[in-house]
Point group: C2
Chain length 556, copies 2
């Protein structure tokens, strides 16, 4: 069996290695346009920041063997043609035409073909985008050029265009290298894969580190004489010694399209769960292939290294006659922003509503360990569920606390179709150095259950903010202690500490709605219950408490 | 509705708070023998070590309010009788007799009764156990007495009897306080909730910190004149200024037994999934109640604060007429041992075999992040699955790496009845600061799939060790690089680096079994496949590689 694999970064080498393990007799060739194989593209921001010291670490095995052509030949039994580009697939003849760097052309026969052509950075059609010192960060060459420039001069003015995952990772890396950074984002928030009230926490964190975040801002022009010197936006001009474009990637599908393979609605190569394209002898895996969303069942395009590896393995299994199927993705993502983690999975609130679910959400900010442990860190958790089926649809976590653990549990729970009731009873590991006795996730699941069962009516901080701004007549009841209120409070709120509420409820009017809150709104919830007992009618709780308040805070 | 709750530490106050939220009209009384309420018993080792500075932190809310009688009355609407012991339940009259510290007796009427009487430390019937400076660590009083003693004199000789969860936590706390520590464990390993090859890693880690671990050692006598001065074991005498007994806890069921309530086979109070005892108006929750194991469906006794909270909530829900059921536990546990985490869930290997499963296991030691990230730490992962259903049965993780995240994903997967195939495809969050592109758990799941599908035959390091000791005729093939072998190797092994194996396979005999390994046995697996292709017949791979080798290692 002859197998040709086009693309040598992630899905391709994965498929090749696995085929080698399964089929002794496969003759395999990897065709790679660049020089380097099987390198960790996701590690590039950490190479720029110096966290990763040497380039070769990104392309070596855990014991330090560089994954070069010789390695692939000797260990994986795969013939590697690097500096070689595939130019044409002849599906009838089952050949791939390739051209090497020195101009040599040849045709490779295949029985099975794997397309792992990856993705390319989107270059926005903006005036001046071709100026020097405007970079992408897609491969090692890009990283080398950026590194060289940052190395020669510190304290550069850097502008990152695009506040997605790569943009924020690059921002952190540039910060480590001493740059003054502005992130310019066209949308009204950075990290559009999380909901606005979660993204604002990340934006604020950036600002505490001195990174400027300009959302709702459109780049109009890059100015400069040969080299870029400023970025002109619809909100003003920003000086720039270096610019990184991080406005997204696009699947590389030219070869597939020209071969007449089906391209999906997302623009990526359409595949079935066996990773077969519309030609069952041609497989596609990794960033060039379309994904299926596990919850909606719809096509989506979420290119990630983790997915590429799984798809490469499934393609290899199927090629070798093993029954396997890739179920799809949940849109799980995570990134580090200085001392913060941002992680998410499943559907966002709006996405879930748009998909027709009867959405219930909760915001639960709390320490990720018992409050008496000095290692406890705050974690802001949001859950999204469907009232009808009580199933979890999504989760997002932001903050210095351990977000990965909670989100990965939700990944598993959503994949298994678990209800919030099942999640609330999970026997998660517990000891004070790791989590509170009732884990943040289980608490959040219980809040959802309370809401679904009608024990708690929630209002989001954004809704309350809007009510205040439009001068709605209601009581915003802060039940924290006077000492807490002295530190920070919301203008227009009334303070009655929870412990005094039974005695002092007479001070409140039953003629208008009461919205109770505290630091995280657990006491807010108890306050609403006390007032309900005292005969008050229109009661709700502000989700997430003052910790999630997006508006102005009076401090000191 | 009158509700009496006996026990004020975890499940009791949880039930009381929840009932208050659900039923405005409930009249609630908590009867607590001690002074303190709702304190974090699991935090006691961290109070001893000074990580937690003040006792009151263990019994306050996250914002610093101490949960005393006044707090419970004002906020939770619960009447608290502390320093008061329940002495008798009259089920016919529905009363509980209580005696307060000052001798006052009274009868409390109840409609619903919650038993949250907890557990008590087992005091082994050993000669001299009553000597001074021999302690338990069950409550705040114990912790205070220990703290006082460690405070006045550092560098004490401390002996911890029992190497379970509490024993190891206490050992770390005492180490922080400058003690010379010996853990004496009757069984052949510490932490009997994990398998021997995982426990040995924890034992070795203790030893690198200067903590002596004596397994298979029985305490015969405590010697001393008034105060303990040494611990006599069947393996010799150990000087001791202080001794902590951590040989386990026993549910407090006297009240329940005398009231004629059913006691389960484990010695704890039998309950149904609604937390009802054999009297449907009497509930039991927390450390006094029997648990159901989710996998086996059998009764078990695993007392944990996390479970107590969940059970207290379910009892409250049912008392208030809400449909709820507690599905049971998986035996999830976690503890911190200096720079190590030990975590587990589900069935251990032996337990799974004893329960009749066709057990497949794997050992996967690997960095918990990409090897190029300086924050990467080694994580030893063991999975246990059932060949027939392909379902995961258990998981254990040890090492400096992030064990909690992987084990909690397995908790969720086992609860949902997921197969290893489903787990291998989980869309876990990925970015280099958090995990490798293929997470350790997914890699381990794929190893299990390979074994189940017949692509890989594993032998455990312990089995190989035994084969060497009994002079079995086989080739132990080390395929690491010469440089790696120079650092450490296994006596009797033959080294052919993986990259040279295709050319040099002729050096090996096909007449005897070949067991291949490397550092973690990924290359060992590839070596077996290369040799299979070269015509070798009897091939297997040593699980976990040299990193999991339990025997002698030649170093340097």
């Amino acid at each position: 069996m002859k197998v040709v694999i086009i693309g040598g970064v992630a899905a391709g080498p994965k498929a090749g290695s696995r085929i080698n393990r399964l089929c002794c007799d496969a003759e395999m060739t990897i065709v790679e346009k660049g020089e380097f194989l099987s390198y960790a593209g996701c590690g590039l921001p950490y190479y720029i920041s110096g966290v990763v010291k040497e380039r070769k670490e990104l392309m070596s095995t855990p014991v330090g063997t560089v994954r070069d052509s010789i390695f692939f030949q000797n260990v994986k039994n795969v013939h590697v043609m690097n500096h070689t580009e595939a130019t044409c697939i002849d599906r009838e003849q089952r050949t791939v035409s390739v051209v090497s760097r020195n101009g040599g052309e040849q045709k490779l026969d295949y029985d099975k073909l794997v397309l792992a052509t990856g993705a390319e950075s989107v270059i926005p059609p903006i005036k001046g985008v071709d100026l020097e010192n405007i970079f992408n960060l897609k491969n090692i060459y890009d990283a080398e050029r950026i590194k060289e420039m940052l190395g020669e001069k510190k304290a550069l003015n850097a502008v990152i265009v695009g506040g997605g995952l790569i943009g924020v990772e690059v921002a952190e890396a540039f910060h480590e290298m001493g740059c003054r950074i502005t992130i310019v984002e066209f949308q009204s928030q950075i990290l559009s894969l999380i909901d606005p009230e979660m993204a604002v926490l990340a934006e604020k964190h950036f600002e505490t580190k001195g990174v400027k975040v300009k959302t709702g801002t459109k780049v109009v022009e890059f100015k400069g004489d040969q080299k870029v010197s400023s970025v002109v936006t619809d909100q003003g001009e920003i000086p720039a010694d270096i610019v990184v474009l991080a406005v997204g990637v696009r699947p590389m599908v030219k070869l597939a399209r020209e071969a007449g393979l089906e391209i999906g609605s997302t623009g990526a190569i359409a595949v079935n769960t066996q990773m077969q394209t519309s030609d069952s002898d041609i497989f596609a895996a990794g960033d060039c292939a379309e994904k299926k969303h596990i919850i909606t069942g719809k096509a989506c395009y979420i290119p990630l290294g983790s997915t590429a590896n799984k798809e490469g393995r499934v393609a290899a299994n199927v090629i070798c006659g093993i029954n396997d199927a890739y179920p799809g993705v949940l849109g799980s993502a995570i990134c580090k922003i200085f001392d913060f983690t941002v992680a998410c999975t499943g559907l966002g609130e709006k996405e879930a509503r748009d998909a027709g679910y009867d959405v219930v959400t909760c915001l639960s900010p709390a320490p990720d360990k018992p409050h008496f442990m000095p290692t406890a860190k705050l974690l802001f958790l949001k859950l999204i569920a469907d009232r009808k089926t009580r199933k979890l649809l999504g989760a997002q976590a932001t903050g210095p606390g351990a977000a990965d653990r909670r989100i990965d549990v939700v990944v598993t729970a959503i994949t298994a179709g678990m209800t919030v009731d099942q999640v609330a009873h999970l026997d998660m590991t517990y000891a004070p150095p790791y989590s509170p006795a009732v884990d943040n996730l289980l608490t959040a699941a219980n809040i959802l259950r309370n809401k679904m069962d009608g024990y708690m009516k929630g209002v989001t901080p954004a809704e309350v903010c809007a009510m205040l701004e439009s001068n709605k007549d209601f009581t915003l009841l802060d039940v924290r202690s006077p000492a807490e209120c002295e530190q920070m409070r919301i203008e227009g709120s009334v303070n009655i500490p929870l412990g005094a509420l039974r005695k002092r409820s007479g001070e409140l009017s039953n003629e208008k709605p009461i919205i109770a809150f505290c630091k995280i709104s657990l006491r807010g919830y108890e306050a609403a219950l006390i007032l309900k007992k005292a005969g008050f009618k229109d009661l709700s709780v502000m989700d997430g408490g003052i910790l999630m308040w997006p508006g102005k805070i009076i401090q000191g």
